[in-house]
C-alpha cells in the first residue's frame, strides 16, 4: 500500500470512503441478489401474517450479510486461499464442539455464543468448496486419484459430522459443494460414472444407517396420504398450497393455505409454497429463472477468474446454490423428501442468509480480481 498515514483510524476512514464511493461489485449479480432478497421479504411479510417484527429481523440479517459481502468483496482471493485450510479446520472444530455440547430442537445444530447463536454447518457450506478448491488447485488438473481421494476424505469429515447431528439436508449441500469442485476441476467422465454407479449400489446400505425418523420421512414422501395427520400432512398441504395457486396465484396475502395455517413452517422451510400459492406459476417461473440467472452469473465470474483456486471456488459455490433451490423446491412440490433445507434468501432464518451473502462476497472478491482487470 502506498498510504503513508500512521494513524490507523484515519486510514480506515479513507478506506471506507473509497469503498463507498466505488463499491467493487458485479452489478448484475448484486441486482439479482437484491431482487431475490426483495421477493423474500415481501413473501415473508405475507407468510408471517403481516408481522413487521419478523420482517425487520430478517432485514437486519440481510444488512449484516450485505456488510459481510461488501467486506469480503475487498479481500483478494490470494488471501482467501491462504486462510482456507485454517478456516476449514476451524469449521470442522466447531462441528466437533457442536457434536459434543450443541443444542437445538431435536437436532444438535446450534452453537450458542451468547451474543449470537449460529449453526457451524452453515460455515462448513462455505469452507467446504474453499477447501476442495484449495487441494485441487495445488496439483495438476484434471485431478488424479490421489487428490480425489484426499478431497473425498476432506468432504467426508464435515459431512459425516453434520449428518450425525442429524441434518441430512445440510450434509448433502456440503457434499455437493465439494463434489462440484471436483467436477469443475475436470475429473474424468469415467471416474464420475464409476462414482455414480458405486453410489447407486451403496444406496440400500445407506438405509441401515438412516435414523428412524429419516426412514419415516422417506416412507411418508413415497405415500403422503398414508400419514394424513402426521408428516404426510405437510406434504399434502404444501401440494394443495402450490396447486391451488394456479397460473396467476391468489394474490399477495391472499394465500389461504398459509394465512389459515394449514401449511406448516410457512415462514421457513415451506415459504416457497406460500409464494407459489400467492404468485402462481408465473411467479414460480420468474423466481426460478432468477435463481438460474444467479447461478449462471456466478459461473461466468468463475470462468473469468484469475486462477484455478478462484475458478473452482466460485464455480462450486454457484453450483451448490442450485442444490438449495432444487432440494427445497422439490420438497415443496412433493417430488423430494422433507429435509430441512431453506429456500435460499427467501426462507426466514438468519445463519443461512448471512452465510450465503458471505459466500457471494467471495464471488464479488473473485470478480474484483478477475483475469482482465478494469
Amino acid at each position: 500500500m502506498t498510504f503513508e498515514f500512521d494513524h490507523p483510524g484515519t486510514r480506515l476512514r479513507l478506506l471506507a470512503r473509497r469503498w463507498l464511493r466505488a463499491p467493487a461489485l458485479d452489478w448484475p449479480l448484486a441486482l439479482g441478489l437484491l431482487l431475490l432478497g426483495g421477493v423474500g421479504l415481501i413473501t415473508l411479510y405475507s407468510a408471517g401474517d403481516l408481522d413487521a417484527k419478523i420482517v425487520l429481523n430478517q432485514s437486519a440479517r440481510f444488512v449484516l450479510g450485505t456488510v459481510l459481502l461488501l467486506l469480503i468483496s475487498r479481500i483478494s482471493p490470494q488471501n482467501l486461499r491462504k486462510w482456507t485450510p485454517w478456516l476449514y479446520l476451524g469449521s470442522v472444530l466447531l462441528l466437533v464442539i457442536v457434536a459434543v455440547l450443541g443444542e437445538g430442537r431435536g437436532a444438535n445444530r446450534w452453537l450458542d455464543l451468547k451474543l449470537v447463536r449460529f449453526q457451524p454447518s452453515e460455515l462448513a457450506k462455505l469452507t467446504m468448496p474453499m477447501m476442495a478448491a484449495w487441494v485441487l488447485s495445488r496439483r495438476e488438473l484434471p485431478p488424479k486419484f490421489f487428490s480425489l481421494a484426499i478431497v473425498a476424505v476432506l468432504i467426508a469429515i464435515p459431512a459425516g459430522l453434520i449428518a450425525k447431528q442429524p441434518d441430512l439436508g445440510t450434509a448433502l449441500l456440503v457434499v455437493a459443494g465439494g463434489m462440484f469442485a471436483i467436477f469443475l476441476a475436470g475429473m474424468a467422465w469415467w471416474r464420475i460414472g464409476l462414482v455414480a454407479a458405486a453410489a447407486a449400489a451403496a444406496a440400500p446400505m445407506a438405509w441401515h444407517f438412516m435414523h428412524d425418523y429419516q426412514k419415516k420421512r422417506l416412507f411418508t414422501f413415497l405415500d403422503p396420504a398414508a400419514d394424513r395427520l402426521g408428516d404426510g400432512w405437510h406434504i399434502m398441504q404444501s401440494e394443495i398450497a402450490v396447486g391451488s395457486g394456479g397460473l396467476w396465484g391468489k394474490g399477495w396475502h391472499h394465500g389461504t393455505q398459509s394465512q389459515l395455517e394449514f401449511l406448516p413452517e410457512h415462514t421457513t422451510d415451506f415459504i416457497f409454497a406460500v409464494f407459489s400459492e400467492e404468485w402462481g406459476l408465473i411467479g414460480v417461473i420468474a423466481v426460478i429463472v432468477l435463481y438460474l440467472f444467479i447461478v449462471g452469473r456466478g459461473l461466468t465470474i468463475a470462468a473469468n477468474a484469475r486462477d484455478t483456486y478462484s475458478r473452482l471456488l466460485a464455480g462450486s459455490f454457484s453450483m451448490s446454490f442450485f442444490v438449495y433451490v432444487m432440494v427445497n423446491g422439490g420438497m415443496v412440490a412433493g417430488i423430494l423428501p422433507v429435509v430441512g433445507v431453506p429456500m435460499p434468501l427467501i426462507s426466514y432464518g438468519g445463519t443461512s442468509v448471512v452465510a450465503l451473502l458471505a459466500g457471494f462476497g467471495m464471488l464479488m472478491a473473485i470478480h474484483n480480481h478477475r483475469r482482465t482487470p478494469r
Binding site: R138, A241, S244, I285, A302, T308, A333
Partner: protein, 632 residues
C-alpha cells in the same frame, strides 16, 4: 505455502479451458434440473390446479346452519300460548379451563357450590363436550335464575372459561292451562335425529314433542339460514364470508279462546276427565281441557328425574291427554246417534213407539236386559228425553251389528278424527269384524243390544264424541274438528285464515230426522221430569239440547255392586253432551268424567257452566287480531 504461487500459475490456459467446458455442462444440467422443477410446478398448478383449488376451498370454507326462531302460538284472540323468551345459561369453554381434564372436574365440583348443577346436567355436558372441539362453548346449566346469575357473577373470577350466555328458550306463559293442546318442545333425541332432515335441523336443538307443537312442527320450525365462514387449520372461525338469515317459523293462531279454556278448567276443578267446546259450524275447537294438567315448561330444557318420576307415578295420570286419548264408555250419550241410524236407514219413523217394561228380551232368549225406567210406550223423542234403554235395545237388535257399526262409523267413531293435535287415540267402534280381528271370536246378538245404549265394547274419546255431536248439531254436516284458526308468516303481516279440513259426507239426509233428534235432546234438558236433565237450561238465553251418559265402569253382567269397593259416587263414567242454541247451534260441549254418580248430576252442571262462560266471550266468530307487539 511457499509453493502455492508457482503452482497456481502452472498451465493456466488448459485449466481454464477444462473449467469452461465443465461449467457449460454444469450450467446446462442445472437448467435441466430447474426445468424439471418447473415442469412439476406446471403439473401441480395447471394440470391439477382446479382440483387443488377445490381442496383448498373445501378445507377452509365451512357452511354453518343458523337455527330459525320457532313460530309463536296464540289463541284466537292473540293471547300468547307459546313464546320464545330470552334466558341465560352457563357455558364452558373446556380449553379455557386450566388443568385439563382434572381441572375441569375440579371446576365442576367448585361451581356446584355456587350454582346447583345436577348429575343430569353434568352427564349431558360431558356427552356434548365429547362431540365438540376444545375451544367450542358447551352448555352446562340451562335457565339460570336471576339469583343464580347474581351469585355466579360474584364468584366469576374463580371460574375462567365459564360464561353466562343468553339464549332463546320456549316458554308457555299459561303454564298447565294449554299443555294438553299446545304440547311442548324438548331436546331432539337420537331416535328423532334419524328421521329429521339433517339440513333443516342443523343448529336446532329442540323439536315439538306433543300436541300442536308436534303436529305443526314443519310450520313452526321455519327455514334455517346459513353462515359461510372461513376456518383455520385448527377449526377456529376466522371470518364470515356470507350470511343468509333464517326465516322464522310461522305463528299459529288457535281456534281456542284462552278465557273459555280457563273457565272450563275452573269448572272441571279437580275431577279426572275432559271437557271440549266446539263450534259445530266449522269444527273449530273453542276449549279443550284434560284434567289433571301439567306444566309443559318442565320439559323444555330437560325435565329433572324427580319431576318426571312425580308425573309418571301420579295415579291420576296427568300426562294422559284425556280429551283426545282418554278411553270412555259413551253410555247413553250414544243414543242420539243410534236414533239417527234408525231414522236414516228407515227402520223407525219419529212417531213409532216401543213399549218399555223394565226388561228387554231377545226373542227366544231368557236373558233380560235391564231398563231402569219402565216408561211404557215411548216414541223417539221421549226415548231420548227420558233415556229409555228398551227403545234402543230393540232398535240396535233390528239394525243388526253390521248396519249398526257401519252407520255409526259415519260419525267418526272407531277412527281418529284427525284433529291437529298429536297423540290422538282411535277408540273402539263395536263391530263383528272388530271382534273377530282383535279377539278372534264370533259376535253375539246380545252384544248388539248393549251396544245400542253405548255399553259393551264401546270406547270413545271425548274428541270423537265432540265430533259426532257437532255432526248432529250441524244437521248432519261433517266438519272435522281442528284447532288451527289462522297462520301468520311473520310479525306485522296479517294472519291468513287456515283452510278448513275437508268436510266428510253428510250423515243425515232428511231434515225431519234431525228435527226429531234435536227435539228429543231439547226435551231432555227443557222438559219436566222424568226428562233426564230437567231444569238444566233454566236462565240460559238460548235453548239447550243435550243428552246424558252414565256408563257402568265395572262388569256389565254383575247386577250386584257388592263386590265393588267404591262408593256410588265413583261407580260410573259419567258424560254429558249438549249444544246450543238448539235450533241453530253455535257451540257443542262434551263433558266426560272418569268417575261420578250420573251424567245428569255430575257432568251436566259442568257443561252448563261452560255454556255460561261461552256466553260471556262469544262474539260470534271474531277474526283473530294481529298480535300487537314488537318483533322479537
Amino acid at each position: 505455502m511457499k509453493l502455492s504461487g508457482a503452482r497456481a500459475l502452472r498451465n493456466p490456459r488448459s485449466d481454464a479451458e477444462i473449467f469452461r467446458t465443465r461449467a457449460i455442462v454444469g450450467f446446462l444440467l442445472i437448467a435441466l434440473g430447474l426445468g424439471a422443477l418447473i415442469a412439476r410446478f406446471v403439473f401441480l398448478q395447471i394440470q391439477r390446479g382446479a382440483e387443488f383449488a377445490e381442496t383448498s376451498d373445501k378445507q377452509r370454507i365451512s357452511v354453518r346452519s343458523v337455527a330459525p326462531a320457532r313460530g309463536l302460538i296464540y289463541d284466537r284472540n292473540g293471547t300468547l300460548l307459546a313464546d320464545n323468551i330470552a334466558a341465560f345459561r352457563l357455558e364452558v369453554v373446556p380449553e379455557a379451563v386450566a388443568g385439563g381434564r382434572k381441572g375441569l372436574d375440579k371446576m365442576l365440583a367448585e361451581l356446584g357450590d355456587v350454582i346447583a348443577i345436577s348429575d343430569d346436567d353434568i352427564e349431558r355436558f360431558q356427552s356434548a363436550r365429547a362431540k365438540k372441539k376444545a375451544f367450542e362453548s358447551v352448555p352446562l346449566r340451562l335457565k339460570l335464575s336471576e339469583d343464580e346469575i347474581a351469585r355466579f357473577s360474584v364468584d366469576r373470577w374463580r371460574f375462567p372459561g365459564v360464561e353466562v350466555v343468553p339464549y332463546l328458550t320456549r316458554a308457555y306463559p299459561l303454564r298447565s292451562l294449554f299443555t294438553h293442546v299446545v304440547g311442548y318442545v324438548g331436546r331432539i333425541d337420537a331416535k328423532e335425529l334419524e328421521h329429521l332432515d339433517a339440513s333443516a335441523y342443523a343448529g336446532t336443538t329442540h323439536i315439538g314433542k306433543t300436541g300442536v307443537e308436534r303436529w305443526y312442527e314443519d310450520e313452526l320450525h321455519g327455514t334455517p339460514g346459513s353462515e359461510t365462514v372461513e376456518v383455520g387449520a385448527d377449526g377456529r372461525v376466522r371470518r364470515t364470508l356470507d350470511h343468509i338469515p333464517p326465516t322464522p317459523g310461522k305463528n299459529l293462531y288457535l281456534s281456542l279462546d284462552a278465557r273459555l279454556q280457563r273457565a272450563t278448567e275452573d269448572v272441571l276443578g279437580s275431577r279426572l276427565g275432559a271437557a271440549i267446546a266446539i263450534d259445530p259450524r266449522n269444527g273449530e275447537v273453542l276449549a279443550m281441557v284434560s284434567e289433571p294438567g301439567f306444566d309443559g315448561n318442565l320439559f323444555v330444557n330437560g325435565i329433572s328425574r324427580a319431576d318426571y318420576a312425580q308425573l309418571i307415578d301420579d295415579p291420576r295420570k296427568p300426562l294422559l291427554n284425556r280429551a283426545i286419548a282418554g278411553a270412555f264408555l259413551p253410555g247413553s250419550t250414544m243414543k242420539p246417534f243410534v236414533a239417527a241410524a234408525g231414522l236414516e236407514l228407515g227402520l223407525r219413523r219419529p212417531s213409532d213407539t216401543v213399549v218399555s217394561t223394565g226388561e228387554f228380551h231377545i226373542p227366544g232368549q231368557k236373558r233380560g236386559y235391564r231398563d231402569d225406567f219402565p216408561a211404557g210406550s215411548v216414541d223417539l223423542k221421549l226415548a231420548i228425553a227420558w233415556s229409555v234403554n228398551t227403545y234402543f235395545y230393540s232398535l240396535a237388535l233390528e239394525l243388526g251389528i253390521d248396519r249398526f257399526s257401519n252407520f255409526l262409523g259415519r260419525f267418526g267413531f272407531g277412527a281418529k278424527t284427525g284433529i291437529d293435535i298429536a297423540g290422538e287415540a282411535v277408540g273402539v267402534l263395536p263391530s263383528a269384524e272388530w271382534k273377530r280381528k282383535t279377539q278372534n271370536k264370533a259376535w253375539y246378538p246380545g252384544e248388539t243390544v248393549i251396544a245400542g245404549i253405548g255399553q259393551g265394547y264401546w270406547v270413545v274419546t271425548p274428541i270423537q264424541l265432540a265430533h259426532a255431536l257437532s255432526v248432529i248439531a250441524a244437521k248432519g254436516a261433517n266438519r272435522p274438528p281442528h284447532v288451527l284458526h289462522a297462520m301468520q308468516e311473520g310479525i306485522g303481516l296479517s294472519p291468513q285464515p287456515a283452510p278448513l279440513p275437508l268436510p266428510g259426507p253428510s250423515v243425515i239426509a232428511h231434515p225431519g230426522n234431525w228435527k226429531a233428534i234435536e227435539e228429543g235432546m231439547s226435551l231432555a234438558v227443557n222438559g219436566p221430569p222424568p226428562s233426564t236433565v230437567s231444569g238444566l237450561g233454566q236462565g240460559f238465553p238460548y235453548a239447550i239440547a243435550g243428552k246424558t251418559g252414565t256408563a257402568e265402569r265395572y262388569s256389565r253382567y254383575d247386577e250386584t255392586w257388592t263386590s265393588i269397593a267404591t262408593s256410588a259416587a265413583e261407580r260410573h263414567q259419567v258424560l254429558f253432551e249438549c249444544f246450543a242454541p238448539a235450533e241453530e247451534p253455535r257451540i257443542a260441549v262434551i263433558v266426560a268424567l272418569e268417575t261420578g254418580k250420573s251424567g245428569a248430576s255430575d257432568a251436566a252442571p259442568i257443561a252448563r257452566k261452560i255454556l255460561d262462560a261461552w256466553l260471556k266471550y262469544d262474539d260470534d266468530a271474531p277474526s283473530p287480531r294481529v298480535a300487537q307487539q314488537d318483533a322479537r
